[in-house]
Symmetry: none
Subunit: 419 residues, 2 copies
């Protein structure tokens, strides 16, 4: 087993600590590090205080081969990263000629006056390797100290990303002998995390030590993430493909895609290839199914439109649901959902119609139809498939899970013509 | 000054470390902690490895009065938080009767089989205070150990937020002597952050030191958050009310609400009090306007339904837009949007009709109608109001901002009968 390079990613700034801005930097950085085979072992955020920064640097040095710092490089008083790095390394700030030239030209180009604060941005700790920043005024810095690499970058996401992509990542690949890390994501729907786990337990236990499995659940979906570590990229790809081939027969009914596939893109592809048009009748989901479908660029190729029939009279008027059915069985019933799915096909003149009707909550539940009782249906020229869902009490969740399930029912019907 | 309570927020999970999912939990948690006067001193993410979790617990204990952990509580093998907490506290796992009863009823309600993995979710470290989770199957836990409070919560954002809001935050306020912190949120729409800042600059500069202002922009809205810190709650409330009274005249046209008001709830209230029904015609927003409106519990009182007319033939067939208008001016035109808003009132028989039509992107732009060109309209029995939006390149953003603007136009029309 090759020794993995361990990284620690640290963001500096009170605004992140107090939750005033979202930190997108650490996620992006650790993804990029993973892709070049460097394993992030810890991500942290600390405030703009010297002692907090010194403490985390000392800790991180115990754990990591490379430490990536972002933030605290601005020209103002509260940005103290550089001073603190001087204290940590026991060096002085030295004005860097190249950095000064760059800052100067940056201001000249924009015809703006340069202040001493701006000139100060060209001051670097004496042991810093100057990393040119062509996208802003704060230079990047690279340090090597006690068998550890320290990288300090501005916190502005755009500048940080440019510096990482063009300067730091190539340098890290050179500096370390990085192992290869490959990921494969299997995306499932309609089966709970624990049931999935039981079904694939034997396979999971038999996974080789260098392939790890993680379960990532989200509103009726569970993503299975395989992570393989090694030296030979094509060998890892082959091994991951082999493992997927072994596990698929156990779960294939629930697998809707891989890696970045989404249900709405997968059903969109199915509709496109089968050259079918889609219409949607929504009651309890109130337009959310349509918004998921239309979140896909180019969905107008197969999606014609929807009727959100919140009021029962519109179920009758717009979808042709029989008043008698509504009176006898209610809006939340298999009889009504069938007529809604059929009705939207007819009214909008589409090949396929899908429908939802249920009690999203928090109110409207009855003893025999409690909140979370929801019917979904998919109608094609050949058949109608219906399902009864028994979900929880929370409106948001019920709407999201119902949408996922009706999109999945559509997928199943299009794929296997099942009912 | 009252001594501050120091918190450390820790997320557990390889998927966060490797950058595969965005960690929204730590930002949300530290914001909530700030609101009750607890200062986050460090945020960290570690992987699903016992040694990494034990190490950070020992470190955090040195720094913090309260440690909030999220993640690693799922039923599957890769979730090891509970076992690791047992090692850390030197206790055993014990099956908790209340937790077991809850998990059991959770599965019974859904008519699903329960597995040993699910039963295992009722096992807690012996020194844990059981925190009931009514929103999922993984219990929350509260520990007190060596003058430090430890809280362990599931990583699923929805469950975590419910547990924090309803169980943990009140408990923390009780347990610690936190200073009094009061917030007042002023919610604006339709004015950019920098314009807002210019308009209220003098007021902002004159704010007393113990009242802080934050700008929180989000898709066409800007929230102004006033935070007052002190000891006397009623005095703080009075001071906040005074500051709001001073600033309101400068911005009142743009203020749609306060605190937790949302545009969809505000327009819902307006429709209710005026006893008006609403119908929606959506093209480029593809159902998102309807889903925002129906995200409000009880919206069925005023919202009858929508027609999502993605295809032009449905704009004609369902909304009665004239083919001649479509041919001459196109679907993205003031003429068409007027006929859509009028048409949906007629077709669905509602008092008010709102409509959207535009080029959400990324494709479909033309030199005279680039991506981001979007028309919105609101039709009442008395008048029609229309607006042309010139937005950006990004499909998601365009859909969200358009929705915000059409809801705000509806608010303005209902409030002032303007056109």
């Amino acid at each position: 087993m090759i020794n993995t390079i361990r990284a620690e990613v640290i963001t500096i700034g009170d605004e992140i600590l107090f939750g005033q801005i979202t930190d997108t930097n650490t996620q992006w950085i650790s993804t990029e590090l993973t892709n070049i085979g460097i394993r992030t072992v810890r991500k942290s955020s600390v405030g703009d205080q010297a002692d907090a920064i010194l403490e985390i640097l000392r800790e991180a040095h115990q754990r990591a081969d490379v430490i990536i710092l972002t933030g605290g490089l601005g020209p103002t008083k509260d940005d103290i990263t550089k001073k603190t790095l001087c204290t940590y390394f026991g060096v002085e700030l030295v004005r860097n000629a190249d950095a000064l030239a760059l800052v100067t030209s940056f201001f000249e180009k924009r015809g703006r006056e340069m202040t001493d604060l701006n000139r100060g941005q060209a001051d670097l700790p004496a042991n810093a390797v100057y990393i040119q920043n062509d996208w802003g005024t704060a230079p990047g810095m690279w340090f090597e100290h006690n068998q550890c690499v320290y990288v300090s970058l501005p916190g502005v996401p755009f500048e940080m990303k440019q510096l990482m992509t063009n300067r730091i990542l190539p340098r890290l690949r050179q500096h370390f002998e990085t192992p290869v890390i490959k990921h494969k994501m299997i995306r499932t729907v309609g089966i709970g995390e624990s049931f999935l786990a039981e079904r694939i337990e034997a396979w999971e236990d038999a996974l080789p030590a260098h392939i790890k499995l993680a379960y990532l659940p989200h509103f009726g979906q569970v993503r299975l993430r395989l992570t393989a570590t090694g030296t030979d990229e094509s060998a890892l790809d082959r091994e991951l493909a082999e493992q997927v081939a072994i596990v698929m027969p156990l779960i294939d009914k629930h697998v809707f895609g891989f890696d970045n596939d989404e249900l709405e893109t997968v059903v969109g592809q199915l509709l496109k290839t089968k050259n079918l048009t889609l219409g949607i009748a929504e009651s309890c989901t109130g337009g959310y199914v349509s918004s998921r479908i239309t979140s896909v660029p180019g969905s107008s190729a197969y999606f014609l439109g929807s009727i959100v029939s919140y009021a029962n009279e519109l179920k009758v008027k717009q979808l042709g649901v029989s008043p008698d059915t509504l009176a006898r069985h209610g809006a939340v019933s298999e009889e009504t959902i069938r007529q809604m799915a059929e009705g939207v096909r007819r009214t909008l003149g589409t090949d396929v119609g899908i429908a939802t009707s249920g009690i999203a909550g928090p109110d409207g539940g009855t003893p025999d139809k409690p909140v979370g009782t929801i019917w979904i249906a998919v109608a094609t020229p050949e058949r109608i498939a219906t399902r009864l869902l028994k979900l929880g009490q929370y409106r948001d969740q019920n709407i999201q899970i119902t949408t996922t399930y009706v999109l999945n029912l559509l997928r199943e019907v299009l794929k296997w013509n099942t009912d």
